[in-house]
């Protein structure tokens, strides 16, 4: 299939997304994405399982512009265990997952919403199994489905890394990318992400076409992330993943680096009360605490400087109809796509990231002397940004410098 001048079936939607920007792909190539789903589902199977889920991801998937979850279902994604909308109930619903496990159609895509409770042999989530006439832990069902699947996608932070059910666990271990000793953490049910759960149960993913769980963190998942990933893997592309299993096309940049309020940060213009934001990003920084205006949310707790996601450039709830993302509504980013959410650096949502503030160059006090502006302008590596910076009398620092500090 040809999308524009790019051969999508060879490049893949995610590659394309990395190339021209993901929202452009969803915005301009909807027809092709839907067509791809239609073609793919004639010979494949997909199913969504619910672990310790709140159904927020399911509701979020309904908010995709096109395709949405219903389009995908009508094209063949079987959602028999996606409890909110499955048409079947009881035994007939349970049979659908058996068909997934035993069926012949390939590739098989398994998507999971919610974390997996591993403590107490998984008994914090059980279901009645009609085949064995027994109550079984959810983790056993997940294991069976994962062994049968070709591609496994963890939808949302909870499925990817454990999320809120794993709350108050020790810091995420970036080195081992895996589990936290169940004895020592306060995570009540031993909740872990799908990747960790499968590793703990000894499920070997190395022989699969996509040899790792594809993690799509954020709480809830962004519908575009899910549908683009599904389309891509159904076409046989292996998404380019980072060390935390995230597709680079979506999670390659910090929210902070794409934020529309970045200029305010660079000028050191920080809001200090929730009553200050005027609702219009084009307004100037308020000169007194009682006045309304625009500014950076860092001091109100924004976690954009530590969170990798594309919210500012993609937007939520149908970007085509110019709807928002959290910072544009004045409610600072809580770092919900951060792997340790709701702990680690994303903890204490309304407390500033002090460590990060000290790491970044300090904003100057008072008016900026002209020689500093000149000096800074020479350091800038991006020409357009430099022009804007000088025009606005901006104190800023180069992208190059920030990279060195990483």
């Amino acid at each position: 299939m040809v999308v524009g001048r790019v051969q999508v079936s060879r490049r893949g939607f995610l590659k394309l997304a990395g190339f021209v920007g993901a929202s452009t792909v969803m915005g301009n190539y909807r027809t092709e994405v839907v067509e791809a789903l239609t073609q793919a589902f004639t010979s494949s199977q997909a199913i969504i399982l619910d672990g310790q889920a709140c159904e927020g991801c399911a509701i979020s998937l309904l908010q995709g512009a096109d395709p949405d979850l219903y389009t995908a279902v009508s094209l063949g994604v079987s959602l028999d265990f996606l409890i909110p909308i499955s048409p079947e109930t009881g035994r007939t619903a349970a049979e659908k997952i058996e068909n997934f496990i035993e069926g012949e159609k390939r590739p098989k895509v398994l998507a999971v919403e919610g974390s997996v409770p591993m403590a107490e042999d998984g008994k914090y989530q059980t279901y009645w199994d009609y085949r064995h006439e027994k109550r079984r832990p959810f983790k056993d069902l997940l294991k069976e489905a994962a062994e049968a699947a070709d591609v496994i996608i963890a939808i949302g932070t909870t499925a990817a890394y454990g999320g809120i059910p794993r709350g108050h666990a020790p810091k995420y271990n970036y080195e081992s990318k895996s589990s936290y000793g169940l004895e020592e953490n306060r995570n009540p049910t031993g909740a872990v992400g799908v990747g960790d759960a499968l590793a703990m149960m000894g499920v070997d993913l190395s022989g699969k076409p996509v040899p790792a769980v594809v993690n799509l963190p954020s709480c809830p998942v962004h519908p575009d992330h899910f549908f683009l990933t599904v389309v891509d893997v159904l076409f046989g592309h292996i998404p380019e993943l980072d060390s935390l299993g995230r597709p680079k096309a979506f999670y390659g940049r910090l929210i902070h680096d794409q934020c529309q309020f970045r200029g305010f940060f660079d000028r050191g213009e920080f809001l200090t009360s929730f009553n200050q934001y005027s609702g219009n990003i084009n307004d100037p920084y308020p000169t007194s605490p009682d006045e309304k205006g625009a500014g950076c949310f860092l001091l109100l707790g924004c976690k954009g400087p530590v969170t990798y996601n594309d919210c500012p450039s993609r937007g939520w709830n149908c970007r085509a109809e110019s709807v928002s993302w959290p910072n544009l509504s004045g409610g600072p980013c809580t770092g919900c796509a951060y792997p340790g959410f709701p702990d680690g650096k994303s903890e204490a949502f309304y407390v500033p990231l002090t460590e990060e503030i000290t790491r970044l160059p300090k904003p100057p006090e008072g008016p900026i002397p002209p020689e500093i502006i000149k000096e800074r302008a020479e350091e800038l590596t991006v020409g357009i940004a430099a022009g804007t910076a000088i025009a606005g009398g901006i104190y800023t620092y180069s992208a190059k410098k920030e990279n060195e500090e990483e």
Partner: protein, 531 residues
Amino acid sequence: MAAKTITLDPMTRLEGALQITVTVEDGRVTDAWSVAPMFRGIENILLGRDPRDAPVITSRVCGVCHTVHRQASTRAIENAFGLTDQIPEGAKMLRNLECGIEYIYDHALHTIALAGPDYSYNLLKQDGVDMSGWPNSYIETVKGFNFLTGKIYKEAVAQQRKLHQCLALLGGRGVFNHSWVPGGVPQAITVKLAAQLLTRVLSVQAWVDQTLVPAVVTLYKIMTEELGAHTFGQGLNDFLSYGFFDDIENPGGLLMPGGVYSGGADHGYSEANVGETIAHSWYSPDMGNQDEPVYIGDEPTPKPDVSAIDMDNPVPQDPDGKYSWAKSTRYKLNGEWLPFEVGPLARLVINRKTIGNPLDLRIDENGNPSDTAANTLNRVIARIQETLLLLGSPSLGIEGWVPQWIMELEPKAPTALPHSPNIMKDGELRGVGNWEAPRGALGHWVTIKDRKIALYNIIAATSWNASPRDHLGQRGPFEAALIDVPVPDDSNGNPILTNIGRTIRSFDPCLACTVHVFSKDNRKNYRLKVK
């Protein structure tokens, strides 16, 4: 005819995991068990945290009714810090508005996309219902409810998206939006915002007026004439509501106040009478709430006990056995702990004298108009009545609260306290946040010690409705409503279970909210984390 035990797991088209087990004898349900099989423990995860984080974390209790959890939690936190009276009007209006928008989306989506397929052409045909004599309007309506392909089904999905866009305009994104912060709402009121909201809300209003209301009127005829949905699902017929929507003109008051309706009489509601027991729940009794329910504000989070789970049977053979992660929520009325039904029907029954009765189609089991009777039909109708009350309907002459609220928004009005988010105070503080979720009464109770959460308790709507039997053996509302539901046999002698699904879904269950408590040893945590 011998009694047969039938288990439905998963009960689908609802939020969260639910197992229903019934015994059926002579074509009627004779006993029922409501099982919540999944468990997370949100309250324990909150212990020791910054109290201002509670609204963000508890909104994840449920991805469907997240704004109301955020609202109840914010109220509890602001109540604990003594700020309830200081919250600016602008913030209260935005919060009312956002909750109102959520109820509309939730009610419409539930009625059409979740409960709708129970009344669809495909399902009726599968159940062998003879539709040959039905008028065309009936056939057209039930075809509209067909899963995925029905006309009204598809439209409902598209309409709810507009309402999520409203939530995104107010709080950055539809699901888990950011518009509740400690001390107010961060979004400023602008003319542009009001215009963007109004456009979307009025377009949904037009759809409800022209499509949903006529469909529901036809559905009412089908449910009464053909399916007899007013003759089953009565259940307790006792209702409870905490009340909701801040009355801006009368600070401290609510537009729909709470109350209790029991044994045909009205009573006042006090949060001091809400309690829980774990008599039939998978927790160990060493926390002391095995028998008499314990007041929720003081209740230590009980210790879960996986050894109590019967892995060989859908529900235990022993009548005293434990069978759910949900606890039994009860209200103490005249010295007795009683179960209560909550939800839109409960709210309308309790407020029947002041709110009126738009699109009055509710009837009792004999077919006589009734504004207090409970049954499977009336719960469906009440959900639509409340939608009309909130959204308005030009054809029925109802103005609707939500469009009015949008027009009353005052640009540039303060929406948060000037010192927010620095609202914390020292000492031991307690706060209560009572509100209503789309599916019924929702309460958060918090104790804060030295600026950390020391105790947190949530009772969600479905905690009431899906509750198991209690210490006295009294069934919960789901279980009670299932008694006597007709389960006829099909031509092959297999039971048709559709009426069970219809009755359970008439409550709009949300299990994600229901099971919320866990602690390895809460008291230990209490000591460890909070000096």
